[in-house]
């Protein structure tokens, strides 16, 4: 049995007299300090030790004392601290990179962290605000401070609009919300996220000013693609298409134009919901009144409320007497685009307005009668929006007296040739070009593509092609965006393979048994791929890697060749394939 086990068992008295180097061979008495050593103890645990060695001279004799301190736990704690600090730094870096302001307080409401965005928002440095009460820094009371509310209620504080003067005297408009921070169920602080809406507020003021100055004219939302005045709002003549479902949508819109009922238009993005809304207005009895559109997804709830219903002076700091869009649309039509993005709280207020026919400005006490027709739109199915609770059911029934579904482009592919001609004509005038048509290959590409962006995407693709076409007369695959080509080439590829397999399969069918055919088809597909790859490599070698020339020789477009180079991992610079 070894010395350590024996020594430990016998209480250590028998190590007296033994040479130090036999019992503690890892000790070096030449040093005065033992910085850090790792030693196994008698329970086979690894201990970290540091120590001191001192020489003593007593009564003419020399002694040496060695004191070793166990720093195992301390070392582990240091490592843990280092690791925690590293994580903390990563989180801080993430918070610093946010565009939104972040303020964190301790449980007493004293600020312990603000990120860079918040520093810029308030024009302060971290040192200016650290360890100060949030209520003092922002000149707020316990009720108005989301941080204090989060600490007091121990619950999330929903989004609210705040206006304050920062420490250097600048007015700041923010939308903010707060959360309590808990550790083991105990609230240890709070965090507030602040979005600067000063610029959005200024923009909203400009929008309202714009409406104010033109209160007698036809007005559409400024974000509309084509600025239209009283005489050039879209009409039903602008709705291009012969598809049966599309024509049915137009028929419903025409019927609804003859009534004063609320209309709900729904369809995917880019299907032309606003064109329908304007057309209904243009053919209604309200055509001489204003048409005002607002995108409900573009603005936060508090701002949207002020814009829709107006404000009275003193409603909140900085608020002035101003009519909202409901008042300005009086006698006309208000188009609420992307209604499913409107917060539910505001939907409830909208429902009250529709039921009572009156609005009350934010901060006001007076009810104002309005005569406004509402046309709204959803970019999703209404039932789905109700089920997902992004649209109040009662509001849906109120707004969808007439509901019109606009089919997506993939459901009306038969309209693609007509729409293509229309957009070519439109952009010929706009870009001063003389493009005649698209190549048959492009038409095939258009007809096969699934068009997630619908008619808007088709128009953009054509506009883009007409920009890059130069003086050409026909749009070819070379003028299309890469993603469209890749999609087309892939479909062509599958189509070609299927065709070849079908032809050859007919011969094989005469000769082989049904069970062998699947195997044959697989082998054949592999063979076709291999032949195609070899041919591309061969022609590329002959043209010294020139893609355009290779494509020309192979009789395919450059994009189609690029797709195949990628598919077969062909590196045209050294003409090797990675398989």
């Amino acid at each position: 049995m070894g010395g350590r086990g024996r020594l430990a068992a016998e209480g250590g008295s028998d190590i007296r007299g033994l040479p130090l180097e036999d019992v503690f061979p890892w000790l070096d008495l030449k040093e005065e300090q033992i910085e850090k050593i790792e030693v196994n103890d008698n329970k086979n645990r690894i201990l970290t030790l540091k120590g001191k060695i001192k020489k003593h001279h007593i009564n003419g004799k020399h002694y040496t004392s060695i004191i070793l301190t166990d720093i195992t736990e301390l070392t582990k704690l240091k490592a843990k601290y280092k690791q925690t600090n590293c994580i903390k730094q990563k989180y801080e870096q993430a918070l610093e990179s946010l565009f939104e302001g972040v303020i964190i307080t301790d449980s007493e409401g004293k600020i312990i962290y603000v990120n860079k965005a918040q520093e810029e928002l308030d024009n302060v440095t971290k040192d200016d605000v650290y360890n100060k009460k949030a209520t003092e820094v922002f000149n707020l009371d316990k009720e108005s401070s989301v941080l204090m509310q989060a600490l007091i209620t121990k619950k999330e504080v929903p989004e609210r609009h705040q206006y304050y003067i920062n420490m250097v005297g600048h007015a700041v408009n923010i939308v903010t919300y707060g959360y309590p921070l808990t550790v083991n169920g105990k609230v240890v602080g709070a965090v507030a996220i602040c979005r600067d809406t000063t610029k959005a507020k200024e923009l909203a003021e400009m929008v309202l000013d714009y409406y104010d100055t033109r209160s007698n004219g036809q007005i559409i939302k400024p974000s509309a693609e084509k600025a239209k005045t009283r005489d050039n709002l879209y009409t039903f003549k602008d709705l291009i298409g012969n598809n049966a479902a599309f024509k049915e949508a137009i028929r419903w819109a025409q019927v609804s134009a003859e009534t004063d009922s609320s209309v709900l238009i729904y369809g995917l993005t880019g299907t032309g919901k606003e064109l329908f809304a304007q057309s209904v207005h243009s053919h209604s009895n309200r055509k001489n009144g204003p048409f005002i559109g607002i995108n409900c997804a573009a603005l936060p709830e508090s701002l949207l409320e002020s814009i829709l219903f107006g404000t009275v002076k003193g409603a909140f700091t900085g608020a002035i007497d101003r009519p909202g869009l409901f008042e300005q649309a009086n006698g006309g039509t208000l188009f609420l685009d992307e209604l499913n993005s409107m917060p539910l709280g505001l939907q409830a207020k909208l429902l009250r307005v529709l039921q009572d026919g009156t609005i009350r400005r934010v901060g006001g006490t007076q009810d104002i009668s309005v005569d406004v027709r509402i046309i709204s739109s959803l970019n999703t199915d209404p039932n789905e929006a109700v089920n997902k609770k992004v649209l109040r059911q009662d509001l849906f029934y109120r707004l969808a007296v007439v509901s019109i579904r606009i089919p997506p482009l993939k459901e009306r592919r038969d309209d693609i040739p007509m729409l293509t001609s229309f957009f070519i004509g439109k952009h010929n005038r706009k870009l001063k070009k003389s493009v005649k048509d698209i190549s048959p290959e492009v038409m095939q590409c258009f007809l096969n593509y699934h068009w997630p962006g619908n008619v808007r995407e088709l128009e953009h693709v054509i506009e883009c092609a007409m920009v890059v076409i130069g003086d050409g007369s026909y749009i070819t695959l070379d003028h299309l965006p890469h993603y469209l080509i890749e999609c087309y080439a892939q479909q062509q590829d599958e189509h070609d393979e299927v065709n070849q397999l079908v032809i050859l399969d007919a011969d094989f069918r005469k000769q082989t048994h049904h069970n062998n055919r699947k195997k044959t088809n697989y082998i054949l597909k592999h063979k076709i791929d291999s032949t195609e790859r070899d041919l591309i490599v061969k022609i590329l070698s002959e043209t010294q890697g020139n893609v355009s020339r290779t494509a020309r020789i192979l009789g395919i477009s450059r994009q189609s060749l690029q797709y195949r180079l990628k598919k077969y991992n062909i590196n045209r610079t050294n003409l090797t394939t990675v398989t």
């Binding site: 070894g2 010395g3 350590r4 086990g5 024996r6 020594l7 430990a8 209480g11 250590g12 190590i15 007296r16 007299g17 033994l18 040479p19 130090l20 180097e21 036999d22 019992v23 503690f24 061979p25 890892w26 000790l27 008495l29 030693v39 103890d41 008698n42 329970k43 201990l47 030790l49 120590g51 007593i58 004799k61 020399h62 002694y63 040496t64 004392s65 060695i66 004191i67 070793l68 301190t69 166990d70």
Partner: protein, 41 residues
């Protein structure tokens, strides 16, 4: 004598080891914790 006094002070100490050796580096005293570190080789 010195070792005895030192021993009384540090013998029960669980995170500090004390070893005292004479001029020939032979062990005169080691406390319990030092003993747990003694090599068995």
């Amino acid at each position: 004598m010195i070792a005895q006094v030192a021993g009384e002070i540090v013998d029960g100490c669980e995170d500090q080891a004390l070893i005292i050796v004479d001029e020939e580096n032979r062990i005169l005293y080691s406390n319990q914790f030092a003993l747990s570190l003694a090599s068995s080789d």
